[in-house]
């Protein structure tokens, strides 16, 4: 992570503390304090117009005791696992091609850049851009109608699980490609030559050398994709057309109804689930070397 420090020199000992202070203050005030507040408010009581400082467990009882919550968590987890599997299946070959099969460094940089540019453009616009394809009169329906596969346009293309998962994959595959590519670039090429010299075929090289050494990158990508999908509400709202449920959407609905303590309890549960998922990934793969 960081290089070992040199001792001595004219740099005052307090300097690194001063340099790190702004980051610590900002994250303390805008991450730790708000999350602490979420936990506190999750024990508050509320009525239809205001929140009442108190210590009650009713919010958690309502969250954990409702069948809707469990179904919503199950549905969100389903999205997360599907998107994770697809982004891995798509992202791995993309990263592998970039890392091992692009010969010139300039080309590699250009193609890597091409993969990351969409990350710096608007997610909402990228979701909207599926309308011409998935809409009732969109390209897919026209093509299927034209080919005689269907005789009425499919309504279920947009506003469906399919659209939600498609949009997630579209938005988040980058988060898998970049860490996997980084891990692959660190693989010593001589290991691959050695494997080939020892008689390994292309698939054996990938299975026995590339995958094990790229695992930390896969783990980081997996953590990104899983947490982004688990906490999402905008993609599910836009692509699901209000008919699909997710935990983030449930929280945002509670906020819209000003049920802040209920939303907070839900948020705390979501955070716990996300941390459990990350813990599960880290149990399988040790990523410390990568950081």
């Amino acid at each position: 992570m960081t290089q070992t420090a040199r001792s001595g020199g004219p740099v005052p000992a307090a300097l690194p503390y001063l340099q790190a202070l702004p980051l610590a203050l900002i994250l303390g005030a805008l991450l730790l304090v708000p999350l602490g507040l979420l936990v506190v408010v999750s024990f508050f009581d509320y009525d239809s117009i205001r929140i009442i400082p108190d210590f009650v467990l009713t919010n958690y009882e309502e969250v954990l005791g409702s069948a809707v919550t469990w179904r919503t968590y199950a549905n969100t987890l389903k999205y997360a696992l599907m998107v994770w599997a697809i982004t891995l299946l798509v992202g791995f070959p993309v990263a592998y091609f970039l890392a091992f099969h692009v010969r010139s460094t300039a080309m590699q940089t250009a193609l890597f850049l091409a993969c990351t540019v969409p990350f710096l453009t608007s997610n909402i616009i990228r979701m909207i851009s599926w309308v011409p394809f998935l809409g009732r009169e969109g390209l897919i329906n026209s093509a299927l109608l034209g080919a005689g596969v269907i005789d009425r346009p499919l309504d279920a293309l947009l506003f469906s699980d399919f659209a939600v998962v498609l949009a997630f994959v579209h938005l988040y595959t980058l988060f898998m490609v970049v860490p996997v590519f980084n891990a692959m670039m660190r693989i010593d090429r001589r290991l691959i030559e050695a494997a080939v010299d020892a008689g390994a075929g292309p698939f054996a090289v990938v299975r026995e050398v590339v995958v094990p050494l790229a695992k930390p990158g896969i783990a980081i990508g997996s953590i990104f994709v899983l947490t982004l999908v688990m906490g999402d509400f905008i993609t599910v709202r836009l692509m699901g057309g209000g008919q699909r449920a997710s935990v983030g959407l449930m929280i945002s609905n509670q906020i819209a109804l000003l049920q802040y303590p209920a939303a907070c309890a839900n948020a705390v549960v979501l955070l716990a689930v996300v941390l459990l998922l990350i813990g599960a990934v880290l149990r399988v793969v040790d990523i410390r070397k990568e950081l």
């Binding site: 790190a20 994250l27 710096l120 453009t121 990350i278």
Partner: protein, 263 residues
């Protein structure tokens, strides 16, 4: 053969990434009879004109101005704080591990929790959350981790010999930073700036509950998705993607120029 297959797959991936956005860009240049789907009905700048008229659905110009201003603020803060913290992490200091974990946590905590937490913090403190205070802070929790990770990547490859040479020649720490370290890391600092601006400019979830009543552009776009069903939406997509692409192009050009200058 295998390489050709992989290259083909990669090509399809790029098509998947860019195809839809290019499609709505194309559809935004339709004539006044145009709709949300193909076929293209004529070509004109009609929908861009409509975009810049003050509309009943919202105020695109004001939202764009706010988003650009906020993007510039977040960019400046992200650069200053990330570079400073990046310098700190080159030495050992107590709490370095904890601060690093906190930064990674900032990346992983779902956006809606940050948004809700900061929104509550402001309302409990009796402050009005607006785009330039609460939303500005909420966006920093998203841009700073990226900024710091970029700085880590830079300083991991950084050759300290240059700095030591400057010190041996009598440079003060500040002179060493200003005349030796900064010129070397400058291209990456531009990268941090690009991330700071772009991630802020497109940020939605962390801004939603923290921007108060005045919308930033992504919030405005989100509002439009529910009640605008004309190519105005696509024209908006073309304009806002254009702004992002210009930012990326400017940053890349600047990085190239800086690299050439330092050789």
């Amino acid at each position: 053969m295998r390489r050709a297959l992989l290259a083909g797959f990669f090509g399809l991936f790029l098509l998947f990434l860019y195809g839809p956005t290019l499609t709505i860009m194309l559809l935004s240049f339709q004539g006044p009879e145009g709709g949300l789907t193909f076929p293209l009905r004529g070509t004109s700048l009609h929908w861009f004109g409509r975009l810049f008229q003050r509309q009943s659905v919202g105020d695109f110009g004001a939202a764009l101005t706010r988003s650009l201003a906020l993007g510039a603020m977040v960019m400046a803060a992200t650069v200053a704080v990330s570079v400073s913290a990046g310098l700190a992490f080159r030495r050992h200091f107590r709490g370095a591990g904890a601060l690093f974990q906190l930064t990674v946590a900032s990346l992983i905590v779902p956006s809606i929790l940050v948004s809700l937490g900061i929104g509550l913090l402001f309302s409990q403190a009796g402050l009005d959350a607006t785009w330039w205070n609460a939303a500005f802070g909420a966006q920093l929790t998203w841009t700073l981790p990226f900024g710091l990770l970029i700085m880590f990547a830079v300083f991991n490859r950084f050759d300290r010999a240059w700095e030591e040479a400057a010190r041996d020649l009598g440079a003060s720490p500040w002179q060493g930073f200003r005349h030796v370290v900064l010129p070397i890391i400058a291209p990456s600092v531009v990268g941090v700036a690009l991330f700071g601006f772009s991630l802020s400019y497109d940020e939605f979830a962390r801004t939603l509950l923290t921007a108060g009543s005045a919308n930033t552009l992504p919030l405005e776009i989100y509002g439009m998705t529910t009640n605008v069903t004309s190519p105005v939406l696509y024209a908006l997509g073309t304009v806002t993607t254009g702004v992002s692409l210009v930012a990326i192009a400017v940053a890349l050009g600047l990085m190239r120029w800086l690299r050439r200058r330092t050789g």
